[in-house]
């Protein structure tokens, strides 16, 4: 099989650049440094292409808020609802995350005004900077608040995803919160610790085929200024990257490095997974479980045939909603964590493994990532694909005011995916399970020795989740 580095045209491109960029890399995993390709390099080196995309997304974001607040009250006729919850949400799960990791974060409009205020300029830092620049409180670190944010989305999903004004206010609130936090705390506190979509993207970015990495650690160590850290709006040291969950792919470190010592690598899917972690972060495991619980709940509410559940989820504050909310929280806060904890504990207990339980929980949680990502993609196929015709409808009439911007185009025709949609969903969920089992098996190996079967209960957990998803999606 041809290794990616051996692709002839790529090798030829970089023969005349004797920098860290062009040194041959050794290691078991094939990578292509996209930053060595002249066209990609010129696009990334200049800040203008990214700024233009950001201005576009920011304009779109403002327009979406306006459409949400002032447009039609009917969700399926409103630009805000359809573009955010059908078009963007679909693109995020089907394109941005699986193929680009946190690539959406690099053009997300929400933190931009805060960034510009913090650095006192748009393209380059200015003389007058705004904000208190405080450190984020240590006790609030981790992904707990992002998990909480996602739980809130789930609790109010039926209303938020269907009521344009609620979507408008939620987006406006996130915008204000991001700006407010950037004026109090340093760097991108909102994106790192609060944004639920950041948590979602960051976690599943570990499965993606893109990474930013330091090329030569020795060169990095000798460089005292650490320009990459200074330039990083997220406050990250690229040399410390163990996975791609935190990096927002803004490319500032590549631009700032005077030694040209950073690479934007294309790598095999899931490269970050299946490696033993040294940390015992149970917050990451909890976030992964919240994602599993949420996708089950979303599939039941939005694609299931249970009208009573849809009504209960929609009627915020009513007794049925209290019942729904209790069930949703019990699933995410008690049932799934308890089952997963039991699975990890049982694996440890019955095989006599001495690994601390917290560490085992954190390590095996990696196996939940491909499972969750593929389940979300499968849900999206059933949720959004049949409704893609609405996108044309709101482009024709964004506010639901009777406009015909696209003229006489028929915007009512449904996307005919019924025949193939179920089959695609089955394949996607199965790929998730296969991938998850593979990661779990690799993780249960003890420093090269054969796997001691510690993961069998976790595999049973994954299989049960898969069967529930099948029942919800195609049952």
């Amino acid at each position: 099989m041809t290794r990616l580095q051996e692709i002839p045209w790529l090798e030829k491109l970089t023969k005349d650049t004797p920098t860290a960029q062009s040194r041959p890399r050794s290691g078991p995993i094939a990578r292509v440094n996209l930053y060595r390709i002249p066209l990609v390099r010129s696009l990334l080196e200049s800040k203008w292409p990214q700024l233009l995309i950001r201005i576009l997304t920011l304009s779109g974001f403002v327009f979406i808020i306006a459409a949400g607040l002032f447009g039609s009250l009917v969700g399926s006729h409103n630009f805000a609802i359809i573009i955010v919850w059908i078009a963007w949400w679909t693109a995020l799960k089907l394109v941005f995350i699986p193929f680009g990791g946190r690539s959406w974060c690099s053009v997300c409009p929400i933190p931009l005004p805060g960034d510009w205020l913090q650095q006192g300029g748009i393209l380059e830092p200015g003389k007058r900077r705004f904000g208190l620049n405080l450190r984020w409180p240590k006790r609030l670190k981790g992904s707990w608040m992002q998990s909480g944010g996602f739980l809130l989305i789930g609790l109010f999903s039926a209303l938020t995803l269907t009521a344009p004004q609620v979507t408008g206010w939620v987006l406006l609130g996130l915008f204000g919160l991001a700006i407010g936090l950037s004026l109090v705390f340093e760097r991108r506190a909102f994106c790192t610790y609060i944004c639920p979509i950041g948590g979602f993207s960051g976690m599943y970015a570990q499965t993606s085929p893109v990474e930013v990495r330091v090329i030569e650690k020795e060169i990095y160590a000798k460089h005292e200024v650490k320009s990459c850290y200074q330039a990083c709006p997220w406050g990250l040291y690229p040399v410390a990257f163990r996975d791609s969950s935190a990096c927002g792919l803004c490319m500032e470190c590549l631009r700032a490095c005077p030694n040209d010592n950073l690479a934007l690598n294309l790598r095999p899917f899931g490269t970050d997974l299946g490696r033993e972690k040294t940390s015992s972060r149970v917050d990451e495991a909890f976030l992964a479980l919240v994602m599993l619980g949420s996708v089950m709940a979303f599939a039941a509410i939005f694609t299931g045939p249970w009208g009573w559940l849809k009504s209960a989820a929609f009627e915020i504050g009513s007794l049925p909603w209290v019942g729904y909310a209790s069930g949703y929280l019990a699933l995410n806060l008690i049932i799934l964590p308890a089952l997963y904890l039991l699975a990890v504990w049982a694996g440890q207990k019955f095989t006599g493994t001495k690994l601390p339980l917290r560490r085992a929980i954190a390590i095996q949680a990696q196996a939940l990532l491909p499972l969750g990502l593929m389940a979300w993609i499968a849900f999206t196929v059933s949720f959004a694909f049949p409704k893609l015709n609405y996108v044309l409808g709101v482009l024709n009439d964004p506010f639901g005011w009777g406009w015909h911007i696209l003229g006489g185009i028929d915007t009512s025709r449904m996307v005919p995916v019924a025949g193939i949609s179920s089959l695609i969903q089955v394949m996607l969920v199965l790929i998730g399970l296969y991938w998850s089992a593979r990661v779990s098996q690799k993780l249960s190996a003890d420093k090269g020795k054969p796997a001691p079967r510690t993961n069998i209960p976790v595999l049973a957990f994954s299989m049960t989740f898969t069967l529930v998803m099948f029942w919800l999606l195609i049952g």
């Binding site: 299931g304 009208g307 019924a418 025949g419 179920s422 089955v426 089992a437 054969p450």
Partner: protein, 133 residues
């Protein structure tokens, strides 16, 4: 092997086609009943009654559609000649959750679900085997 499990034809249970009639009440995001079970070949009549606003019903995969005014009943008759599970959904904007107002028509056994369950074991074994390498 996975493809064999997925695509090998399964013998449907032999049952005499019969006439089946379902009275469905449609109101605010909900069909009642929302799950219809028939045998392949049955002649199915759906009587859709809207109890609040104008409601519609379209069956994915069958290309059939009807709608009913408030308090009125409309009928849809067809032969359920395709095996499998098909969603039906509302076609008239009836409120916030309208795009998600769905029901389910089960024609014969849900062979895709059974195939998926069989493939679950296969995917698990394949993943474990690959992970050992």
């Amino acid at each position: 092997m996975g493809l064999i499990v997925l695509f090998v034809p399964l013998r449907a249970g032999a049952t005499e086609p019969t006439e089946r009639t379902f009275q469905i009440n449609a109101q605010r995001f909900e069909y009642s009943p929302a799950i219809l079970k028939v045998n392949q070949g049955d002649r199915v009549t759906i009587e859709l009654t809207a109890t609040d606003v104008v409601q519609g019903l379209a069956i994915d995969g069958y290309n059939l559609e009807t709608s009913a005014d408030p308090g009125q009943t409309s009928r849809l008759t067809f032969v359920a000649d395709r095996q499998g599970t098909y969603r039906f959904h509302c076609t008239v904007t009836c409120g916030n959750m309208h795009p998600f107002m769905t029901g389910k028509l089960e024609v014969g056994q849900n062979s895709l679900l059974w195939r998926a369950i069989a493939l679950t074991g296969l995917a698990l074994v394949a993943g474990v085997w690959k992970g050992r390498k």
